[in-house]
């Protein structure tokens, strides 16, 4: 696979290799399954050997019951459950052997016909994803909330076991919205694939399209012209800007700071109107394509001034937020995510950077023109809701600085080079979305169309870590804590 070093590994050696990766201070990123060259299921594990090193992909042929690695790398628990649902493999000694993404017990939809897990059989995993732990104590009550919730929100179901104000145990079910997006890529060409990638999570349209394009470009060995590389940075940072402004407004909503909410959402609206004026889309869609951009942008004459005006208003808004005791009181010490839990459960993006981990793909594995722009990566130690908000506030300013640099240094030239598909090629692409690390693994078939696309979204990672900050806290903090994570559900459910 292009974009990463590949290692074939036998299924018996897998637990030892996983343990060795952990002991050598490496990091597991994701796992997925696909059909191998022989048509049978193949398992893939993506890791980083040590901080700053390049990615390594392990490839192995599973036996009938491959060993679960969730005890060594807890973050893999969800990936393994998803593989069980979609490919019909059963992982040995899995700690949570319930279905994850499929509500109905249907035959594994992605299982290759001639591999392990015959497609005609119902799922091996009979337990519903909504199964809750048994609770014996009569004083403990269950509050099921959702999937249709108050306000205009994405659908998800949250279950709270509680006594009075105290939450004892929290279990979300986030896959009501599972659309089978990875399956929709199968059989389409790369141009159509970008349109799909832009619609996995709309508020991450650029990041998803960018990671997809990177994967296709890696697989097909295409080069992207410099002007397109720089404009891609501009688009990615515009996306970060409106997302973080929405985040601040929504956080004020949960701390009942009504004028603060209105002001934050007005700033978000201004950013979205800038997006539309520049690209024709409030979500910055219909521009990215493998090989560059579909058309050129001419941002020089007005965008810089518009961003500077926005920067001044944001600075004033943040000063007011920082002077609001009622707002700060609700954020400080709320929903603490420790460094250790963040690492074990695979938290990413601003959430992880607020828990004292300095990790950002833009710097550690630079793409587009990020190697040439001034990057500031804010990191906080506390891991509470305030730290998560603070990281995003500082990222807003850093983003505008990056965009001004892009506008100043934008080279002339073409924005697109041809990127013909290469049959049977594979590529890995990534991007640091406003919510964290995003990976696309793209496999072409022998006809030059997409055969398998795996999406590792940041919300899938952060939803996995989030419940650990909810157990043993209180109901009044829940909405604030959830808002402080800034999660999407469609990105998680796909």
């Amino acid at each position: 696979m292009k974009g990463t070093e590949i290692r074939d590994i036998s299924i018996e050696d897998l637990p030892a290799a996983a343990q060795q990766l952990l002991d050598s201070l490496g990091r597991m990123q994701m796992a997925y399954a696909c059909a191998g060259q022989d048509g049978a299921v193949e398992l893939r594990y993506l890791g980083t050997p040590a901080a700053g090193g390049s990615f390594v992909l392990w490839r192995c042929k599973p036996t009938a019951e491959p060993p679960s690695l969730a005890a060594i790398w807890p973050l893999l628990g969800w990936y393994e459950r998803e593989i069980m649902d979609l490919f019909g493999l059963r992982f040995r000694d899995h700690p949570e052997p319930n279905r994850l993404v499929l509500h109905a017990n249907i035959p594994p939809p992605l299982a290759p016909a001639n591999g392990h897990g015959a497609a005609a059989q119902p799922s091996l995993n009979g337990n519903s994803p909504r199964a809750l732990p048994e609770m014996q104590a009569p004083d403990v009550q269950l509050l099921p909330f959702g999937p249709v919730r108050a306000d205009v929100l994405e659908s998800a179901e949250f279950n709270f076991f509680y006594i009075g104000e105290q939450i004892l145990h929290y279990q979300p079910q986030l896959f009501y919205k599972h659309r089978g997006m990875e399956d929709r890529f199968q059989g389409v060409d790369a141009t159509h694939g970008v349109i799909l990638a832009e619609r996995v999570s709309a508020v991450g349209s650029v990041a998803h399209a960018l990671a997809f394009c990177h994967a296709v470009e890696a697989a097909c060995d295409c080069t992207v012209p410099p002007r397109a590389q720089w404009l891609r940075v501009l688009l990615a940072e515009l996306e970060r800007l409106y997302n973080h402004l929405h985040y601040l407004g929504h956080l004020c909503n949960t701390t009942t700071l009504k004028v603060g909410e209105a002001q934050g959402k007005l700033l978000e609206e201004r950013a979205k109107q800038i997006n539309a004026r520049l690209t024709g889309s409030r979500f910055l869609r219909s521009l990215l394509i493998p090989g560059g951009l579909r058309r050129d942008l001419q941002p020089k004459d007005w965008l810089s001034a518009a961003l500077e005006a926005l920067r001044a208003d944001i600075a004033q808004y943040v000063r007011h937020l920082e002077a609001s005791d009622s707002h700060l009181d609700r954020l400080l010490t709320t929903g603490v995510l420790t460094h250790q839990v963040a690492f074990e459960q695979g938290a990413t993006g601003p959430v992880q950077r607020a828990s004292n981990t300095d990790r950002d793909l833009r710097r550690d594995h630079p793409y587009a023109a990020y190697a040439e722009v001034p990057l500031t990566i804010p990191v906080r130690e506390e891991g509470d809701a305030y730290a998560r908000a603070r990281v995003r506030i500082e990222e807003i300013d850093a983003s505008i600085t990056i965009m001004q640099h892009v506008l100043h240094s934008l080279p002339d030239g073409p924005v697109r080079s041809p990127c013909p598909p290469v049959p049977l090629a594979e590529g890995l692409g990534w991007a640091e979305s406003p919510r964290g690390t995003l990976f696309y693994a793209v496999h072409f078939g022998s006809d030059g169309r997409l055969a398998r696309v795996k999406i590792k979204s940041p919300s899938f990672s952060n939803w996995r870590a989030f419940p650990f900050t909810v157990h043993d806290t209180n109901m009044m903090d829940y909405a604030i804590n959830e808002a402080s994570f800034g999660l999407t559900i469609s990105g998680c459910a796909r």
């Binding site: 999937p147 659908s155 929405h246 959402k265 409030r282 002077a323």
Partner: protein
């Protein structure tokens, strides 16, 4: 301590006058649904149909069949068209009462005057329950924007309500995933009569890019009776407001037979 009330007052009014005359709809530069000019087509050419990811344009014996209810506004047809027959436009006010009004028809059908409707009592006060039946969160992002100070939906007497028991209109986004079909139906069943349904976004209208497969339906048709269709990917906040006002007979329906009124 920040004095938010004073800060808010000092900021002044941020709300647009639109849809009143002279108001800013906030959509400068936005690319809408491609405008179809069949007279510019070259006989035998079907480049747009070949590239359309959702089958919104299909080549048939009698030329192209264009269905705006399936358009995801990706602009690929505009770029593929050699003659400008599919032209970039700023057309987004696509809220219609009949699904057929999103399908291209030649000539454009005449407007049928709608008589005294049962919606009359709701013209100045409409309560909406929103259900996300599997969207990509683009529609939610724009629905949430409706209550920002710029659009300020409340000023028009239109409100979102948490409970379906208080709702007049069920606004559905997303292609209706397998797992959301039952909660969607339960929400509709909980609403008092009279009740109406709006399909917001191309996914809810026809399934959009996610339609089919093992986990997704094809939108609301056949699931719930639909009273307003609004395609768009996602429909922008002004388009949603326009469709709601059209539904309440407070604004004209602009699209008939795929033709947008001038």
């Amino acid at each position: 301590m920040a004095l938010w009330t004073l800060i808010g007052l000092a900021k002044g009014k941020a709300t647009t006058r639109w849809p009143r005359k002279g108001g800013n709809d906030g959509q400068e530069g936005l690319l809408g649904m491609p405008r179809y000019h069949p007279d510019r087509c070259t006989p035998g050419c079907a480049d747009c149909a070949a590239i359309c990811p959702t089958g919104a344009i299909q080549a048939g014996d009698g030329g192209l069949a264009v269905d705006y209810g399936r358009c995801v506004v990706c602009q690929l047809c505009v770029e593929a068209c050699p003659t400008g027959a599919m032209a970039a436009s700023a057309d987004w006010a696509f809220g219609v009462r009949q699904r057929n009004d999103l399908r291209w028809a030649e000539p454009a059908p005449e407007a049928t005057p709608s008589g005294r409707s049962e919606r009359r009592g709701f013209r100045r006060s409409l309560h909406i329950r929103h259900v996300d039946a599997g969207s990509c969160n683009g529609c939610e992002s724009e629905l949430q924007a409706l209550n920002n100070p710029f659009y300020n939906l409340h000023r028009l007497g239109i409100f979102f309500t948490p409970s379906p028991r208080f709702a007049d209109l069920l606004l559905v986004t997303g292609p209706v995933t397998a797992a959301m079909a039952a909660p969607l139906r339960a929400t509709y069943d909980a609403m008092p009569q009279p009740r109406w349904v709006m399909a917001a976004g191309t996914c809810a209208v026809s399934g959009g890019i996610a339609a089919g497969g093992y986990a997704c339906g094809h939108g609301l048709d056949g699931v719930l009776p639909v009273d307003v269709y609004l395609p768009g990917c996602p429909p922008n906040p002004a388009a949603i407001i326009q469709a709601l006002l059209m539904f309440l007979d407070r604004a004209p329906q602009q699209v008939r037979g795929g033709h947008i009124g001038q």
